[in-house]
């Protein structure tokens, strides 16, 4: 499903050269749940953005679902992302001035679906994430838990095969983190591949996690 082969990624600025990732190789099968752990700045997010096709490796290959993401031109990688990947950000990154419904519909806009299909899909995921009652509220009026559910709904609305979560529980209290983990469990049961970058210890001894990868300064430890 997801293969990283000898991936290096460095950022070049005028003053210096920063190696964000050094020689990472990774293999994730479909339906697995993978935890990327490590301190902030260790390269977790970089791996996620490489897999999502948001940035490209300096050397090496990234292959997701048989597609060589690392060599895909921009419109095609965006298309690929739209079809296969759902993203949950740290701090959710909802657009505060849009309503819940509009936020959830964002990934579907470039698809230009018919109004009924669009409506149906949004309703479905809102139902699934138990946020239907707030569908026309503005996102900035929501509580933390509600925002989290909106973010998950938005990641699910394009029916992705892979879900990428970046520090999803960093700003949550214990109860909400618990809820999040439960949702992830449900998703894994339905066959979605999960990639979660976190340094929250709650994730480290979960039963449904298939791989745990620890990173330090861009190098894989285990």
């Amino acid at each position: 499903m997801i293969v990283l082969k000898n991936v290096c990624k460095c950022y070049e600025t005028e003053a210096q050269r920063i190696d964000a990732l050094r020689d990472i190789s990774l293999h994730v099968k479909a339906g697995e749940c993978v935890i990327l752990k490590g301190a902030s700045g260790s390269g977790k997010s970089t791996i996620l953005s490489l897999i999502a096709g948001l940035s490209k490796p300096t050397t090496g290959d990234v292959v997701v679902d048989g597609k060589r993401i690392s060599k895909l031109m921009e419109p095609f990688s965006a298309h690929f992302r739209r079809e296969n990947i759902g993203v949950i950000f740290q701090r959710y990154h909802l657009i505060a001035t849009l309503s819940v419904r509009d936020n959830i519909a964002l990934p579907l806009i470039p698809e230009n679906l018919s109004a009924q299909v669009m409506e149906k899909r949004v309703e479905e995921v809102m139902e699934l994430c138990a946020i239907s009652h707030k569908s026309s509220a503005l996102c900035r009026h929501l509580s933390g838990g509600e925002q989290q559910r909106v973010a998950i709904a938005r990641a699910l609305v394009n029916e992705p095969k892979i879900i990428i979560a970046d520090e999803p529980t960093a700003n949550l209290d214990a109860v909400l983190s618990e809820q999040f983990i439960e949702t992830m469990y449900d998703l894994k049961k339905s066959g979605v591949t999960l990639l979660i970058a976190t340094h929250d210890s709650q994730f480290f001894n979960l039963l449904f996690v298939d791989q745990q990868i620890e990173l330090k300064n861009g190098v894989m430890l285990s």
Partner: protein, 320 residues
């Protein structure tokens, strides 16, 4: 030099085009030298983004160039009111020595930009963008034509002299030996007209047997004979005057601006016939679609010009 609002508008847009196309030119050169679709360097990632900007700029220029071409003809038409002796755009264009070249460059550039865009569309359809270097090189060359056009245009407008008497279309497109186009009049009318229809029939044959080369060749012939026969033969039926041979007066409102439709059909048809077929062969694409488009517009043109002759004959019972 006169600074009418129309001229100011055209000059201003020229300046804008020059600015943007120079950006596109520099980027194109960069793309041509350094594009390597296998590379994973930062430079390559940057180039991928910049190739977007080139596409954007050329789309922008092309979108404006098409209406601007018509607007240029219109401007020359209004200027003909000021310039002594000019009765239509033909006189104004020919009031400077290089007027005809300016017009030819304008047309050529429309074809070149259109060709680039067709190539671009084929290019971005593919996941690997295989034609980036080709289209960059192509624009690198086309840019010089474009600059030439803009320079000529600026020179044209600055050297227009309102107190100089110019010859109008009546003498420019007449059989008198001095006029610049008089060599065309050496041929007989019936010859030109039959060549025109013959090239159209050749095009039909090329379409039937689905042969790109024949189709392309017939389109080139068709474009040439269409223009010549329009000047020599068909225009007289539009004006209903046996001595009036002007390809510009067609655009005036006295003739319901029929020229705009005629030229649009002719240029669209031959554009798809020439550029579309070339692109389709180069990129192994849908040649048939381009040919169908082209044939539609070309037939439209043939029907329109023939209708004028037939209607005239039906109304008056004689040929001109």
């Amino acid at each position: 030099m006169t600074l009418t609002p129309e001229i100011i508008a055209i000059l201003m847009l020229d300046g804008l085009f020059l600015f943007f196309s120079s950006i596109a030119f520099v980027l194109s050169l960069k793309l041509y030298w350094s594009w390597d679709s296998e590379a994973t360097t930062l430079l390559q990632y940057r180039l991928e983004k910049e190739s977007y900007l080139v596409g954007l700029i050329i789309k922008y220029i092309f979108m404006l160039k098409v209406p601007l071409f018509l607007f240029f003809i219109y401007t020359c038409d209004t200027l003909s009111g000021i310039i002594t002796g000019a009765m239509c755009a033909a006189g104004v264009v020919n009031s400077v020595d290089f007027g005809l070249f300016l017009l030819l460059f304008k047309l050529l550039n429309l074809y070149l930009f259109g060709f680039w865009l067709l190539l671009h569309v084929r290019d971005v359809e593919s996941e690997l963008q295989p034609y980036v270097r080709q289209k960059s090189l192509f624009f690198g060359i086309a840019f010089f034509f474009f600059v030439a056009e803009i320079v000529l245009e600026i020179l044209f407008f600055t050297s227009l002299n309102i107190s100089k008497i110019v010859s109008c279309c009546g003498t420019l497109f007449s059989a008198s030996t001095q006029s610049s186009l008089s060599f065309l009049f050496l041929m007989e009318n019936w010859m030109i007209v039959s060549l025109f229809y013959a090239s159209f029939i050749l095009m039909l044959v090329g379409f039937m047997v689905k042969n790109g080369a024949v189709y392309l060749f017939s389109n080139l012939l068709f474009l040439f004979f269409a223009i010549v026969s329009l000047i020599l033969f068909f225009s007289t039926y539009v004006y209903e005057l046996p001595t009036h041979h002007c390809p510009f007066c067609l655009l005036q409102s006295d003739y319901y601006g029929v020229g705009y439709f005629l030229y649009a059909a002719l240029f669209l048809g031959t554009f798809y016939g020439i550029c579309g077929v070339v692109i389709a062969t180069l990129t192994k694409g849908f040649i048939l679609r381009a040919m169908r488009f082209s044939l539609f517009f070309n037939s439209l043109y043939v029907v329109m010009v023939s209708a004028y002759v037939v209607v005239y004959f039906l109304k008056n019972g004689v040929w001109l």
